[in-house]
Symmetry: C3
Subunit: 217 residues, 3 copies
């Protein structure tokens, strides 16, 4: 994985847990699924980005699928969300935080693994972002929402920036734990500020950004 550090592995698993929780809550809120649907959607959100990353890299079977720790942590997040879905509805803020942690860590681990497999820098940055947003995109597609990556303020941009920082750091030879933490932290801060202040990327010329008839209504 390029992340043999126990702390980074812990962060990676924390991100998996957060996405499992998040995907399962989305299943409860937007699609009223039963326990199998909630578990499926939570786990797919948690490990889907890593599966897409590893399929593109040819690193099969995908690490997030073959490593039992990812499956366990993803399932735990989904089951907790299932059990406490009513109570967790009041806790939107910590869930957004955990979601941002997952986004940040997966962008960094995805880009690092892409470099390890010999991809070029630009491709590594893009694959880092794909890893970060992939699980959520599968989630939204299955419950028939326009994916967050295409409609939700600053979502792909912080992932791209985080991946860019770690790729530049590795190319400069300053790889390691500190560089990864800084890259993830920058991604995290941009994402959280974007959510907090409702920042948005530019719309096409002539399209008003305040219209309310977006496709995901």
């Amino acid at each position: 994985m390029g992340f043999e550090s126990p702390l980074l592995l812990t962060l990676d698993l924390l991100g998996t847990f957060a996405f499992g929780l998040n995907g399962a809550l989305a299943a409860v809120r937007f699609a009223r699924l039963d326990i199998v649907g909630v578990l499926t959607l939570g786990m797919l959100t948690a490990i889907g980005g890593g599966i897409i990353r590893d399929l593109i890299l040819g690193a099969t079977p995908p690490a997030t699928f073959s490593d039992w720790r990812y499956l366990t942590v993803a399932a735990a997040g989904a089951l907790i969300a299932f059990a406490f879905s009513q109570r967790l509805d009041r806790l939107a803020w910590p869930i957004e935080i955990l979601d941002a942690v997952g986004l940040s860590v997966f962008a960094v681990t995805g880009a690092t693994k892409a470099l390890d497999f010999g991809l070029g820098p630009a491709q590594a940055v893009i694959l880092g972002a794909i890893t970060a947003v992939g699980g959520g995109t599968l989630r939204d597609t299955l419950i028939r929402r326009v994916p967050s990556v295409m409609s939700d303020g600053l979502y792909a941009i912080p992932a791209l920036i985080g991946a860019l920082i770690i790729v530049v750091a590795i190319l400069l030879g300053v790889e390691g734990f500190v560089a990864a933490m800084i890259a993830a932290a920058v991604c995290f801060v941009i994402r959280v500020l974007g959510v907090r202040f409702n920042l948005n990327a530019p719309m096409p010329p002539g399209v008003r950004t305040d219209d309310s008839d977006r496709a995901d209504d």
Copy 2:
């Protein structure tokens, strides 16, 4: 494939045929597609689960794609459904039976192949279920329905149970034709009973199971 037995290969092809028929009928009923759309959806339903399985295992090109028998049988099922769609509308019950056959066989073959490729037991069970439900999930996504695996009573659960039985059998050294048949039969019976008696997995606490405004309406 782990299934050199002619009878099991026959069952596997029968499952492919059933899913081809089923996917094509869904195309006619829910999306009013032309012959290309019906053929595409039927074949994707029939061989999609096996393709996902083999991509995850790194067994490329996927067996259901490179082996002409699967393509032929899938296309035959789809074309028959296209030609006789009006008449087949009155035959829902045999179609459900064939669908359950496909689900059962694919769960068993998928789990067996996963063990052959060195995945752990839990991963093999999950991959068996993914093989069983994967084609239908692609089908439902393309015609914009919430996938059966997330909303349709007992669909993933019998697949997981069937896969679990064959994995335990293989780990105990009692693999072979009889074990596979028993595993598939248990999956089949649970699925058919679930359809017959409209059984459902538990909903999240506080969500009534009798509400009719589900997301797939």
Copy 3:
């Protein structure tokens, strides 16, 4: 790629550019996405078919992802569509032409690469068509439309014919630039005539083709 010829590489990149433009315009028109969404959808449309092709062939990382020229051309098409989306709305015809170019070239390159990787003739024809329609299918799924391949007149059929011609030519030993050009040209002409005269593949017996309540409304 089987296409070392500079002219065919140019055509391939032109097809990528056309699909990038087309996907981004679809993002602006049908989903009102911001710049990240437009760029994502444009690039996915442009390189998605090649990624699916290479995943099935086990040719990882996919050429359209690891080769910076495809990424650059796809991004350029998407960004131009973003900037000039209002003006391009009046230019539907050239966009359809470019889309048909992409469809034609990808059908031929996809089928050729499939033969290079040892697939059988029928599988190569199908994989050529998958390469041609794959990107557009991902595009339509993400913005929640029934994919063109299943609902839009003659779309898969010209791709299948173009792929069939190049496969037959290669099996007859007359491969090379001229054969590829003829195969792509036949696909292109059928597609353009289909759009121009609104040709459709047959509907299932008993389904009227003039009804207006199709699933993609």
